[in-house]
């Protein structure tokens, strides 16, 4: 239900922004963009910052009075907020889509770590401005952390009197702020470690529009310091940066230890989600057949998760064989589509390919396709073959389409289809082959849609032969885009040879 709503929203935003510039499809990359905006603006603001108890508030106040530096200072604050907001959104979207189980556990768990680091970095950053917010944050953190066994209430003494705030303390806080930023960057690097060619930059248009929106915010509503910290008075009311130090009111409303328990419980629940029981068939990783693997490395090159390694072939000298790391395998089948042994024209009774998915073997797909086309041919029909993706529009439930006019086949990913299958379908009587992928920017397995199109256009191996390309089309049909798919099918049925070709 939630997922369906999300897919509809993403589809709507695809139509509005264009799939390649849709911000909701690049939340992680936008979070990284916010990080870099925050780093750049922070580095610039630091030039004018006085690292002293006396000068900190004055220098920040001077920054905000300057027309340009005030914007830079505001950008530092707002980009930091955006970083946390986008990280939370990224986590929420991946959770709703169920992308946290099986091989994704590593990315999920390591994706949680940057969040507390970003929050801690932001909290420490607030100490530096030495205003009443800073006073509230420092005292709040002191009360919260000071309640931990082993830390002690002594920590709090650094933040409750004017004389306790020293130049050395400010220097220490600067180091902490920069150190936590570096740790945050390191945690993102670990988060991306299992991804091949991770997307860390948003599309240029998206980055420009996002940056411009933050700049406009900085101009219209610049971030301003409040009054200088005064430890003889309680800063009240205090503006709360809810994503950065929004936890501190909870410390005061409840108790520090209760807040710790709540935070730790939340992190534990998030961190253990991949192992929560769920009624779902287990994902079986791809298997390699040594007889049919010729060591061509195409599956190795195309695997989006780096789950395939090449090793010496056990039986053939000077040859290699693909080896699948089961715990990293997504069972997307992109490797099956990349394998040159996956040709349906091979004259073997059982099509055994170099690498295959045990739960959906290629031989069964060939049989099913051939059988459906033979049945349609017996009725004198020349159906359209629609190849879909399990994560995209549901091609096998296209109710309004007459059954005899369409042969629909859903695969784990559109790229699991070896391109030669399109020609195979045409020769077996298909009027047209329509590949409904999720679109290059919405692929559940990152590169599946892009690889499918490249293979069908002859830009990537294994490629579809040029003679077969005329009657093959591609359509971006992510989840929820069944209507688009139906329109395309109707269009193809009306004008079979003038469809938008791959």
């Amino acid at each position: 239900m939630l997922a369906r709503g999300l897919y509809r929203l993403e589809l709507g935003l695809d139509r509005l922004f264009g799939a390649e510039a849709n911000p909701s499809r690049q939340l992680g990359a936008l979070a990284m963009w916010s990080f870099w905006l925050s780093v750049a603006s922070g580095a610039y603001a630091y030039i004018g910052f006085e690292t002293s108890a006396e000068g900190a508030w004055r220098s920040v106040h001077a920054l905000q009075e300057h027309p340009v530096e005030g914007i830079v200072r505001s950008l530092h604050r707002y980009a930091s907020f955006a970083l946390i907001a986008l990280t939370l959104l990224h986590l929420a979207v991946e959770w709703i889509k169920g992308r946290y189980r099986d091989f994704r556990w590593f990315s999920w768990v390591t994706g949680i770590v940057p969040l507390p680091l970003a929050v801690a970095c932001g909290m420490v950053g607030y100490w530096l401005i030495a205003d009443t917010r800073s006073q509230y944050v420092a005292a709040g953190i002191g009360e919260w952390i000071g309640a931990l066994p082993g830390v002690g209430a002594g920590l709090m003494r650094n933040f409750i009197t004017d004389e306790a705030i020293s130049d050395r303390l400010l220097s220490l806080i600067i180091f902490l702020h920069i150190g936590l930023s570096l740790l945050l960057l390191l945690s993102v690097w670990v988060h991306l470690a299992r991804l091949v060619r991770p997307r860390t930059w948003p599309a240029r248009r998206t980055a420009a529009a996002f940056g411009a929106a933050l700049l406009v915010l900085c101009v219209l509503s610049p971030a301003l310091s409040t009054a200088r910290a005064d430890f003889a008075r309680v800063p009240d009311p205090v503006p709360i940066d809810w994503l950065i130090y929004g936890v501190l009111p909870l410390v005061q409303v409840t108790t520090p230890l209760f807040t710790w328990a709540a935070v730790v419980a939340a992190v534990l629940v998030l961190g253990t989600l991949p192992w929560m029981p769920e009624r779902r068939p287990a994902v079986l990783s791809a298997i390699v057949d040594p007889q049919n693997c010729n060591g061509c490395r195409r599956c190795f090159d195309d695997c989006p998760y780096g789950a395939i390694a090449m090793a010496p072939h056990p039986r053939r000298r000077n040859r290699q064989i693909a080896v699948v790391a089961a715990d990293q395998c997504a069972a997307c089948g992109i490797c099956v589509g990349a394998c040159p042994s996956s040709s349906p024209f091979r004259s073997v009774s059982e099509l055994v390919t170099g690498i295959d998915l045990p739960q959906r073997p290629l031989d069964a797909i060939r049989e099913r396709l051939a059988g459906a086309l033979a049945k349609a041919g017996a009725r004198g029909a020349r159906p359209i073959v629609v190849i879909g993706c399990d994560h995209g529009a549901r091609v096998e439930e296209l109710a309004p389409v007459p059954v005899e006019s369409v042969v629909a086949l859903s695969l784990p990913c559109s790229a699991a289809l070896p391109p030669a299958f399109a020609e195979f379908a045409q020769r077996a009587g298909a009027a047209h082959v329509l590949v409904a992928d999720c679109g290059p920017d919405a692929c559940a397995y990152r590169f599946g849609a892009a690889f499918t199109r490249e293979r069908l256009q002859g830009l990537r191996e294994p490629h579809l032969r040029a003679v077969a390309r005329a009657d093959v089309s591609c359509i971006a049909a992510p989840a929820g885009a069944e209507d688009d798919l139906l329109s395309m099918i109707a269009k193809l049925q009306g004008q079979p040879s003038e469809a938008s070709h791959a």
Binding site: R15, F231, V238, Q252
Partner: protein
Amino acid sequence: MHRLARWSLQAVLYAAFAAAVGVFSGWPPYRQLGPEQALLRLSLLHPGAPLHDCRQRSPEELAKLPAHMRVAQDCPRERSPVHVRVTLDDRPVIDETFAPSGLARDGAAAAYRRLVIPAGTHRIGVGVNDDARHAEVFRTADQTLQIAPGQVVLIDFDPRRGGVLIR
């Protein structure tokens, strides 16, 4: 959709995100105290007196020790916990004992308590005992203060500055 309409709608969505960033990075504000309230903070970091007196080692005991460790006196490192009593208008609000830090219990005792109190004139009494061998002896301070709303009253303990400090 017309290109201009698409761009306008895109701008609206980006503006909505930016507005959310701007708004929630400071709103709604949080009020820690009511309009007629003030804050009483107890914060001290103080090493209590040694818990046990030094004693002279006997010649037999000294002989058992390695040559480089033959110190005539045995002075246990453990310190006394610090007992703090705070009264507000003669009503006890804090009466706690804070243990010394460290695995050997030889560090300073640290205490932090935060109490919201009504603003106005109050008599604050503080007693600190830092020597468990003389548990009945308290160093005390007693002050009547006119406390404004939002004011912070800090209770500290520093023997070099006269013992109990109320400020």
